[in-house]
């Protein structure tokens, strides 16, 4: 006992008194007590599942783990891990025969073989299913974007009184539904959306561009879309009063978030009905629109279809031109011209073509695998996936049953959403047709 007392006394002299007393409060003997900073250090290294469970250890641990500071610490450690597995987000029906009875599922598969090239999704992990949303909703959820482990999912019908938009963190299996937006689209363009993270306010934002007028074909004149923003911190939609960007975007345009901004492919009007191909950016901190120039050779091309994506964290796009008939190759239909990447952000001259490829008809670009191959979904072959790169190409048959919709993303473990109150969808959603 004397030795113990002496140890306590000397520790009070040499250590920070406050941490010692705080540590002593919960422990039986000095030797058992780990200081709070040490406990935080240990916990910040744990996977999300363990942390969710360890909230039950004690009230102090529960409030520590749910605290914004700890969530940020854990996230920083997670982000600094160099290896993030890729994941596939799938939305599909089970029990197809009768639409009314079909169970709609939204599932995330993780690629566990993150070190092996060429074995893309050979060993998917057990799936994580999206829970906590109304299963009677028959809309497909599309992946709008993801940041810090938070996925933003929405269906294309998302509009006032219709559709669904969800923020989901699969690592803690928590999802919240967004409230109805304020703006209603009409006409054939309807809307485009984008999702991103703003570090200064530590907030997640969804930006929605809504087109209301179909008269955009008037010579050189575009009716700009209306813009509204949802932020996680406020939990509400807010319209931007400044005029929207004078660009034309295709319906549900592809988007990527990088460099603090959401990017979409678009067209800027020139005189006499001509258009210039551009990439529109929306800075989530300043909430201002800007423009990123495209390679000069493509700026004036008509009927250019552009899908923005990320390759190794760099802004990239896949562009295709329609109906190039090449009988001598026995290929027809959509043809991918090339994959371009912007080596230096904002510097138009740094656009570099990665590779030229011709393949047959395809529906959609899914994404880029870690080994630098583009993954697309072939049209008409039961929706099979096809991957191609500079030196390889071929069908990719995943050991996952054929999904209706599929997206490729990067998986990050985090506790984001843990301290956000559950929001149950308060409105009745109309059953509508599949989109």
């Amino acid at each position: 006992m004397a030795v113990f007392a002496q140890t306590v006394l000397s520790s009070l002299q040499l250590c920070d008194c406050e941490s010692v007393s705080a540590a002593l409060f919960h422990c039986h003997t000095m030797s058992d007590c780990l200081p709070n900073e040490v406990i935080t250090d240990i916990l910040s290294r744990l996977p999300a599942k363990s942390l969710i469970r360890f909230r039950c250890v004690s009230k102090e641990w529960c409030s520590l783990i749910s605290s914004p500071h700890f969530i940020a610490t854990h996230l920083n450690r997670s982000l600094s891990n160099s290896q993030h597995p890729q994941c596939l987000f799938l939305s599909h029906y089970d029990n197809k025969p009768d639409y009314q009875d079909a169970i709609h599922t939204f599932v995330l598969y993780l690629d566990q073989e993150i070190e092996q090239k060429g074995d893309f999704f050979a060993h998917p992990s057990a799936s994580i299913e999206l829970r906590g949303i109304d299963q009677s909703i028959k809309y497909f959820l599309h992946l709008v974007g993801s940041s810090n482990g938070l996925l933003c999912l929405a269906n294309m019908n998302f509009n006032k009184e219709r559709g669904l938009c969800v923020l989901w963190n699969p690592s803690i299996q928590k999802a919240i539904s967004l409230p109805e937006p304020n703006l209603q689209f009409c006409g054939s363009l309807n809307q485009s959306v984008g999702f991103g993270y703003e570090p200064v306010t530590d907030d997640y934002k969804l930006v929605r561009l809504v087109y209301r007028d179909t008269d955009f074909h008037a010579w050189g004149k575009i009716v700009p879309p209306l813009v509204e923003i949802y932020t996680l911190r406020t939990g509400i939609w807010r319209s931007i009063t400044a005029p929207g960007p004078p660009y034309l975007m295709k319906m549900w345009s592809s988007s990527v978030f990088m460099n603090g901004a959401v990017h979409w492919p678009a067209q800027a009007p020139l005189r006499q009905g001509a258009f210039r191909n551009v990439i529109v950016s929306f800075n989530v901190k300043d909430e201002a629109f800007g423009e990123v120039g495209m390679p000069k050779s493509l700026q004036g091309r008509k009927d250019l279809e552009v899908i923005v994506t990320l390759v190794d964290g760099l802004l990239a796009f896949v562009h295709r031109e329609r109906t190039l008939l090449r009988p001598y190759r026995n290929e027809f239909g959509n043809v991918i011209e090339a994959v371009w990447v912007m080596k230096e952000y904002g510097v138009a001259e740094s656009w570099t073509k990665l590779f030229d490829v011709c393949i047959g008809r395809f529906d959609r670009v899914i994404g880029f695998t870690k080994s630098g191959e583009v993954l697309v979904r072939k049209a008409g072959s039961g929706g099979r996936l096809f991957s191609f790169g500079p030196s390889s190409r071929g069908y990719l048959d995943l050991p996952i049953c054929g999904p209706e919709e599929i997206y490729l993303d990067t998986y990050v473990e985090s506790l984001v959403l843990l301290n956000v109150a559950d929001r149950v969808p308060g409105r009745q959603l109309r059953r509508g047709p599949r989109c």
Binding site: S11, D32, I39, I42, C56, K59
Partner: protein, 179 residues
Amino acid sequence: MANNGENPSPDVGGKTVKLKADDGEIFEVEEAVAMELQTVKSFFDDDGVSYDTVVPLLNVSSTALAKVIQYCRRAVELRAKSGDDEGANEKAREEREGLEAELVREESDEGIKELILAANYLNIKDMLSFLCRAVGDRIKNKSVEYVRRFFVLENDFSPEEEERTRNEVAWAFEGVDAD
């Protein structure tokens, strides 16, 4: 004065520093090794403190201090080996990881906690880091009860509160190691 087999022989060149553990045992270590312990470094950074002064480390047991010294000695050696050469760096890194694994492998939970307290008190960043990682690995698949025992924590939830939380996140309790 104790003099365990790890101490340098008297005719080795270079300065040494004397560290005293909580039971009075004195460890004589090379200066470079002693400076790995930031607490010791700060002790000598004070003006007028001569290197002959014995540093009292009243919070550290002699068993823990012996292991700390052993680790720091190896760490200093490994750092001297690495340089600009990628290959040498890689090898040094692997050796350090092997050293860390060896240090924690045989340790009991009590032993690891003692080492963490020592590394924390002596302010040895790298050692504290890998020890925290090792503890993390040990507990990540364990039950709530195991963790309470490990950290010696009281459960201050009511049975109803605990039941409710467990039901809400039942998925997080799947696949947990049996105690």
